[in-house]
Subunit: 668 residues, 3 copies
């Protein structure tokens, strides 16, 4: 994290275009090893019917490929690769390393992760590997090597998929040794570690590297920088697992792009760093169909994934045709929603729309997770919708692949800040970073303003306006970056609890960086006043929740809204100095929307379309205008001028009607 750099694929590397070649990839995880071979032939017939052109093979197949140490059983996979090729279906081939075979845990128990409490995570589920285990890494490299050697030149191969949803923590002894090495790399001396962690507090001073262990169960609160570094370490160890396998497959097939699928806005991996190591940025996305803001959650993840792909096309690796099975209550997608959300992904830059999984499993832990073909089979409502989506993506492909979405506004987001802000000794457990980011993105989304995401250290010159929902920890580089943005005339809107801590999670003097205080015209930040769950605070014209602050403004600040009543009566809720604004509370949704839309307007940023009915989302990609109706009734959308609607082929003049969950894609 000390050398910030831009994201996006390395120059000269293959990219998603090498796999799409003018098509939108459509398909999903395919696990034919769960089915008799006669089903495979049924599968290819139905794939053709549905327009499937891509499947992901081999995720979780380690025990099948290497049923005992050193064995290799590739025959079944050979047959599948050939079968896919024969039917014109490309293969994203996965390394199987996210689920080691039972023999590994039995013969090498140290490969199993230990949690904070010292409890073992046994085999019998998935992801039961320690990222730091030498045995695991050696075995993973060996199977990857053989897989790559065998299939690098197979004509069905279009992409490599490394592991799956990396997400394991390990507090065991081998991880402890790796953690010490990682810390030595970071700090050089134990003295530097003591300084960075502030071990003078509570007498935690270390006298040598050998004394450092992961932040295991303790009597009371742990050292926050210790915990923060352990999160950084974990993300880095998993990334090492990834790059080790990536380098092997690259060696065998330098022209084939490589990816590993992210979970949506997942706290465990610093995806900015990860994305820089990927040829294709891919993500798994499962909004809750019950969630009235499910579409906004989708938009957020899509905006973030696109931004990690440096604005270029990205891959929706997994979504669900219907229900998932890991929520408390798992609801299917109502008629039309799968199509609508698939088109939303394309609108926001996806050139691949894939599912977990092709055919719903009859056994195992996810047999109630839907598939493109569900338990209801070919005549099931879900598969009928899949066929329609396949056909429409084929229609759209020539118009959209490799085109770009180009927002004028960037939302800053950072994993270090997220991690540091989560410490158990924080000001308020009600302050959930991800919720705050969602609230700000929602305000812009509802204002029909398309946004990018950026890391605080990124080059921000492409954006007229930058918003910071909350960045508790900011490096000096990031602070200077913000100052430069404003100095250059850019607009900045910044939420509370930003710039509080430095890179080591050391509180900056004044409780907020002095340069930022100057930027916003804050003379003193006397006290943070977090609010209770359900509590709100009255401000001029709106109510705030979650937070408030006792701020003394400086003479150059314009107070745009004040607290009314309560202990903070008359103190500033919203401060502005020039083009920089600071919000010391979280305004209610409509107020935040109005505030950000107003700031955007002043910055010269307009909504995608004016006068949109409630629940309609509009996005421009290349020269296409996507209109998506998330409402449950039909609406008419005014669209100035004449267009051709690509899905239905109709001409559109002045307005277009969208059915419930309907969509239109307008070309000039």
């Amino acid at each position: 994290m000390r050398t910030p750099r831009g994201t996006g694929p390395e120059p000269g590397r293959p990219s998603l275009s090498d796999a799409t070649r003018g098509r939108i990839l459509f398909g999903g995880d395919y696990n034919p090893e769960q089915w008799p071979e006669e089903t495979w032939h049924e599968d290819v017939r139905l794939m053709k019917e549905a327009g499937v052109n891509s499947v992901t093979l081999g995720v979780f197949s380690w025990a099948r490929l290497e049923p005992r140490p050193g064995a290799r059983e590739f025959g079944w996979l050979d047959r599948l690769m050939d079968l896919m090729h024969e039917h014109g279906v490309g293969v994203v081939l996965a390394t199987p390393t996210s689920s080691p075979p039972p023999w590994m845990g039995r013969l090498h128990p140290e490969t199993l992760p230990r949690d904070e409490d010292g409890r073992t995570e046994w085999w019998g589920s998935r992801q039961h590997f320690s990222h730091s285990s030498a045995v695991y890494r050696r075995c993973a490299a060996a199977i990857t090597e053989d897989l790559a050697a065998r299939y690098a030149s197979h004509p069905a191969l279009t992409m490599w998929h490394i592991n799956n949803e990396y997400c394991t923590f390990d507090y065991g002894d081998e991880a402890a040794a790796a953690f010490r090495r990682w810390l030595q790399d970071r700090y050089g001396t134990v003295g530097a570690l003591n300084t960075a962690w502030g071990t003078a507090f509570w007498g935690q001073g270390y006298d040598g590297w050998h004394e450092v262990v992961p932040p295991r169960r303790a009597h009371y609160m742990k050292n926050p920088t210790h915990v923060l570094d352990f999160k950084r370490f974990t993300s880095d160890m998993l990334l090492e697992c990834y790059t080790a396998e990536r380098d092997i497959v690259r060696r065998h097939s330098p022209g084939t792009p490589v990816t590993s699928n992210f979970m949506p806005m997942w706290v465990g991996q610093d995806a900015w760093r990860w994305a820089a190591e990927e040829d294709v940025v891919s993500v798994d996305l499962y909004p809750d169909p019950r969630d009235p803001l499910g579409a906004q959650h989708g938009a957020l993840v899509q905006d973030m994934t696109r931004s990690q792909a440096a604005g270029g096309p990205w891959m929706l690796m997994e979504q669900a045709a219907g229900a998932v099975n890991w929520r408390g209550v798992n609801r299917p997608k109502p008629r039309g929603l799968n199509r609508l959300w698939s088109l939303q992904a394309v609108a926001r830059g996806a050139d691949a729309v894939c599912y977990f999984q092709w055919r719903q499993s009859r056994q195992g832990a996810e047999k109630f997770h839907s598939g493109m073909i569900g338990h209801a089979g070919e005549r099931g409502r879900a598969f009928q919708e899949i066929k329609r989506i396949g056909a429409e993506l084929a229609l759209l492909a020539p118009h959209v692949t490799d085109t770009r979405v180009t927002p004028d506004i960037a939302v800053l987001h950072d994993w270090d800040s997220w991690w540091a802000g989560e410490h158990e000794g924080r000001l308020s457990a009600e302050n959930d970073y991800a919720e705050v980011v969602r609230a700000w993105h929602r305000a812009l989304w509802e204002a029909h303003i398309t946004t990018a995401f950026a890391r605080p250290e990124h080059d921000l010159s492409a954006y007229r306006m930058v918003v910071v929902p909350q960045l508790y920890l900011l490096t000096d580089t990031a602070i200077e970056n913000l100052l430069a943005h404003v100095r250059a005339g850019g607009t900045l809107v910044c939420g509370f609890l930003t710039g509080v801590a430095d890179e080591d999670d050391r509180v900056r003097p004044g409780g907020m960086d002095e340069r930022l205080r100057d930027l916003f015209g804050i003379r003193a930040l006397h006290e943070w006043w977090p609010l209770d769950a359900g509590e709100s605070v009255a401000c001029d014209g709106f109510s705030g929740r979650l937070w408030s602050e006792e701020i003394e403004p400086g003479p150059t600040a314009v107070v745009e809204a004040r607290y009314r009543g309560g202990e903070l009566d008359g103190l500033p809720a919203v401060l502005r100095k020039g083009t920089a604004r600071y919000l010391s509370t979280l305004p209610e949704p409509a107020a935040l929307r109005a505030l950000l839309a107003g700031a955007a307007r002043s910055a010269g940023v307009r909504p995608v379309l004016d006068g949109l009915p409630d629940g309609v989302e509009a996005v421009r990609r290349g020269d296409l205008l996507f209109l998506l109706n998330h409402g449950r009734g039909p609406v008419t959308v005014e669209v100035p001028g004449s267009h051709r609607e690509l899905l239905g082929g109709a001409s559109v003049r002045g307005s277009v009607r969208l059915e419930r969950y309907g969509a239109a894609v307008l070309a000039p």
Copy 2:
């Protein structure tokens, strides 16, 4: 579970009648080792006063009988057996094996159970034994052998009681070895296990038996069939513990019946299998006096226990004279409730009404669990009520013992289905199997229709109507059984999420067995739509909760109620084809009652009595009619004809008045 058979005691074996001999057993657990011997004499005096004719001795007495390995101290028990005999009180003698002495855990730590997380369950409470431990089993057999040898011919002995409320799980290494043996017996080959468990999913394939462990803590969801088999295994291991001790006592006293007490509708033991191994089926029953449906809960457990006893008399082994002490808030029974609920047990087939415990303990973990003599002592309100109950049971005994309750309706219930349905990856965590069964039984109970319970594979020919609240997992045998019932003209009412999985928890094609879909006229089950907590769905004439389904009816189905509004508007909520009905939601209580009462009426099944006031329960046992007023005010019940009321001795013509918590037992 592969060879379904009828329940009920083995022919030729002794039964409860051998212990009752025309009396209703009345008494309870007796733990005189907690008291000085002078209290024993006080006890027998008060037992006589209360009409106590049975006590259970020796539960938890292992440390007293064998204070160190191999020692035997029987003197105190000799004196007690003699004392009981001298005063005409029969003894249900327990093996003490549910609470091993401290020395066992200390000398043989492997006898202590380990939980899913590997944590040891230490001594100092009770039930700290591993069912798979060779040492435990050997020591349990030895003390049982000596106990049986010593008391088999004692004249006070009326019944053997093995262990107490079997309920331990063990995930430790000795249990792991036993689990592997059990799996080998079940599957024969590892390949068959892999097939049954669907280990192709998530790459869990086993290469040898030695790789299989209990479903210990894992990173994510476990394999559902692995978990299901572990529940089956646990029930079977506990059953092996039981039968090993049973066989010993049988050898010594073949004419004395043997039991082990169930907990009420307890998830951990497959009571159908267990009951088949018992001479007497007994249960512990503790409805919450605060629960407005406490009486229905009692009725359900009593109906189930009676059904496990093949319809014959059963034993209420434990109930509370007042409060228990294991709820959050433990309320005593108000005046009259102990009597009312005791009579309810008799009405529903009990020939033994016993308590935990005779005299409330002054020390130990349950000193706030009431006794027949509570802390308030002889003059306490609770003991006064006990005396009345004792007297009334003596009055009733000649009229009821060995008579039967003969319902026309069976509710199907199955442990395999319960277990499988609980998997963490299920469709909805709101769907609680036991709650659904309770809701259906309640509907019938409130309609004054007495029900039996049956295993899905049982012979159903005795029943005009069968109801299936929910059987997620159904064997082929069970499905054929249901089809045969309907083919033979029987009525069937079946709830949602039935017939989804086969014996291995493999989802059946179509998401519901095709034969069942045909039976109900369902063309396709497109999607399950579970509802949130507190959510309801409007249907024709009622509202449903918990569940809904996207069903496409076939042409032969009659849609009796449709969903109204929402995503499923117009789709069938209740389907009927001939005498078979399917409910895809859980109707609100009054609607489910009306629906089931209507179906019963069509099937020729009438309520026990018409026109009963709210809160009054009516049950026929033999030729007696029990009327039980669960309401808190007096009521008058119309009863056609003339009867003799057995409790008060009055003649009844046309109607009878019941006080608050009052009861009447009418003989023709």
Copy 3:
């Protein structure tokens, strides 16, 4: 606990006066090792400005003093002691033993505590020491010895502070051995232990000491006396740790008083026993600024601490200038509240008003815990208030130090009873002892009646009235003490669930001690009727919550209030016999206040002042009258006669006006 005795410092020992010498100590924990030495000079400048005269050094400094086994680094502390002395700031010097250096856990893992589940508490936080560890105790003694030898004669030293907030439990093997020794001391023979614990219940009989372990994780409820003794043992082991270090520092500086800081009403230490071993009783106090009853909570802890100091002055060791950081939502103190609550402590007997900590940390787990100088620094609102407090305490000091608060009413409180009442098998989990004590204290506080706390065995002759909110466990000595108080004409008001159990947690015959039943005129206690959360029961003129009882009064009792409606209709809710009252429910606040105020009036006890407005607290200390306005608006208080107001210096005749959070200190 078998030899009750009075509390208060040993005669002839130094006391708080030796440290205050006419001043009120003002200052706090000072951790300059977290800061560069230039900050130290800034610190002393600001201390002078704020009137700070005392700091606590060395808490948690072990790793700094002994960075590796046997090393000693005192130089930094020498400089600090000299610096403090040079600037006239006294030093409370702490032994650093609450946070062992990392090397100790690494080299001696057995020094780390194990919890109930066997999980280790690792270093990296604080308090990670086993009270029973021989290594820990030896190392702690060695560093204490060297610290004491070095600084015993330093002129800055005013007091010794041993460890910090003792609070660790340990279930590990070394603790098990210590537990066995403690039990041998208590019981002599295993037989006596079996009798005291009632191990006949559930067959828990021990055959030898070696079989006894701590009450570790078990299958079901543990033996309550086992658990109770483990709590007694834990408090005693921690006390041994304390006295061992105390004896060392005493040896080196017999004239310097010794303390260890309590947490407020903390369940883990029997503070009556502890206080008897301290020269100065000190406490940490952190009411939640959001809590409308925060001031009452403060008053309660202050009353209890003063009582532990035998009524003499006590030390407020830690409070917060603003927010803490360990609640879910941590709110700062609004303007004026820090001053108000500081004055409250003085009013209730404190001669030392100190903070955690002088300067808010920038790093570590508590960097969001406020300091006297917060992140906002010198100009911060918090520090401005600190300066005012410092100045006012200096004004007050000559008038208050060493004067006394002398209440006429004692509230009985006992740790044994608290511990025993918490058993998992209790009657109601809603019955929280601390909440009940708070409710009773609140009633008296709102009635403006100042109270003492006393142990049930204390000499009660100084009190006109004694109240017992709830003492589930009472020794015979305590019962005789209560009887004697009433016999001597004293007034007694006693809450439910009192006198239920004896010293071994054995239920007394009748469910309540017979002598107490006689005292209150109770013929029989038939049943306890605990109420649900949110449930209430109507009584004559008020409603009760939490509890009710089925009581049969004797002929000599006066029933002052009866239950109305429900199962207990007409039974007594409040009983009186002479000057002894029994409450079988918890009356709503206003009713309990009226009841206790009425009883006090009859006993000749008057409020501090009549006619006080809502929210105003009045306390007399010596001849001063403190008036504290906890309300958020200004009020006028009528005060008969003429006074001098010490804070503002004004003359007061007849009435005084108090601003929001304002205070007045009136001298005659």
